[in-house]
Symmetry: C2
Subunit: 315 residues, 2 copies
């Protein structure tokens, strides 16, 4: 799957992933109205609204980008109905030949992590039959519980040729509270931040399951921390980096160059509300709520241009 | 809710939570057969089997313990059908007046963490209507992303009078890879493990939302690390400690005393397979698969005895 991601990035010339993180306030009124008319102001009504909203955006952008990243929390908040919309979204994106990165940030221990891994990337045994629950191509994984939490995912990735992105340095303001803590190393002094230690683990885990150029084990490093991105790029030379925090969170194309290798590969940049709610921004307001999906397409093209220029400017 | 947990522990004299973490290999054959006859070897068949299995155990133990802790991964592995069984289990336990701790280990940033919080503990706005997705009483939360990830949960806890348990020192063998790292403190030297820093954060977060004696913000500390439990008990005097790792993972009653306050409160000990799959253990094999729920009841009584003796022995 990592090889396919690299191929698709080359083909689309867009190291971009669209974050499908719908909240009700992004969904245009005409879609909400129609869904509520059919199902009422219920969880089912909300799920129908976000599904129709997603579908229109996917139809509008699927030829431009290699991948999408649905954030499962935004669906889980609507309970079972919301998760059914998550599943429909994943399945529909795969029909459209998009690679799906499930932003699930799961992480537990042993058989419990394995349950998440088979539920999202693999197959689960029922009696003598193998069944699939959700089926994303990649998922994000939280490393706080150590190798016990990550290795069950890697096992499933090997079997299924799928991949993970481990949280290393997240894009949010408070990510440093734990991740930037200086920790003691072999030298006996506290000379390295925790995220570098996690980066080294990612590199070690990844060495066990390599694709052609990159590993199945990637990393999440926020666009909002470009300097850390440069260091982590060196620590994890074979890890693909998923970069959230572009656009709405403050990251710009120029901040991103250090996340990439010299050949312009090795990273994929996420934008969520900057694309899916583009029509609510001043720049794209002309499209109006009715043409929200066209606004999203325009925002993808602008992002592609921004990142392309930044990478070209580096050489 | 934390006050209610304390009351129920006093009433049952059992600081015990039963982990409802069903896997197919725990479910007795007669239940599997019946479910597969009805729904086939499908996700729906699996979900029906684990629901019937849970229900029998709940019916057998609900008067003995204050709380249950369903591990959502074990349901999520069966996709939407599995999560529907999770929801049914949560609802049924609440009907039986059990406190439900959703072991979800979620953690994300800002509005995304808030989505998890409202989805599991609160209410979500749909149009002008407030709706509930899942509704546990407590959930477990992963702190790797810092305050941004935890505070949205605390906000919802305040509104709903519910609670969280933050992962501080987990019970698994590799928990030390990150959690035990010595980090630099104000003194300039690396003299404290990361879990102590997280423990201090838990104490600080918890001070903002106190129940009568304990805070709504608790902590997870594994039974397998009794010495760390003693230290963390002092660092977080107002935090209730959820203690996994008893029984199958190796923790014993005598290891647990330091997690408790002198009055025998302040901690609640989880056992999962030791109770729900008791009938598969040599000690309870006499019950047989047909009477698995009676074996679970016997295992709860034995655990209550073990912990009670350890606490009494301390005084």
């Amino acid at each position: 799957m990592i090889n396919r991601l690299v191929e698709k990035i080359k083909k689309t010339e867009a190291p971009i992933v669209v974050g499908l993180d719908p909240t009700m306030k992004f969904v245009p009124e005409h879609i909400q109205k129609k869904a509520f008319a059919e199902y009422g102001e219920t969880l089912k009504g909300a799920a129908e609204a976000i599904w129709q909203y997603n579908k229109a955006i996917i139809d509008s952008i699927y030829d431009l980008v290699p991948a999408v990243k649905p954030q499962i929390a935004m669906y889980e908040q609507f309970g079972i109905e919301g998760l059914t919309a998550f599943q429909k979204t994943v399945d529909y994106c795969k029909e459209k030949d998009l690679i799906v990165i499930g932003d699930i940030k799961r992480g537990d221990i042993g058989s419990t992590s394995e349950a998440y891994a088979v539920g999202h990337l693999g197959q689960v045994m029922v009696g003598n039959t193998m069944c699939r629950g959700f089926h994303e191509d990649f998922v994000t994984v939280n490393p706080y519980l150590g190798s016990d939490g990550v290795k069950p995912f890697i096992k499933v990735c090997k079997e299924e040729k799928k991949g993970i992105f481990v949280l290393v340095k997240t894009s949010n303001p408070s990510s440093g509270e734990l991740q930037d803590r200086l920790v003691q190393t072999e030298t006996g002094t506290a000379d390295r931040p925790l995220y570098e230690i996690v980066g080294e683990q990612v590199a070690a885990w990844g060495a066990e399951c390599m694709g052609e150029t990159y590993s199945y084990v990637g990393a999440v490093v926020g666009a909002t921390y470009p300097e850390q991105g440069r260091i982590l790029r060196d620590i994890m030379p074979k890890a693909f980096i998923l970069v959230p925090g572009y656009g709405a969170q403050g990251g710009k194309g120029a901040d991103l160059v250090h996340f990439f290798d010299r050949d312009g590969l090795g990273a994929i940049v996420n934008s969520s509300r900057g694309i899916i709610a583009a029509y609510q921004q001043e720049q794209y307001a002309g499209y109006g709520g009715e043409n929200f999906a066209d606004a999203s397409r325009a925002a993808v093209l602008a992002m592609k241009e921004d990142i392309g220029q930044a990478l070209a400017g580096r050489k």
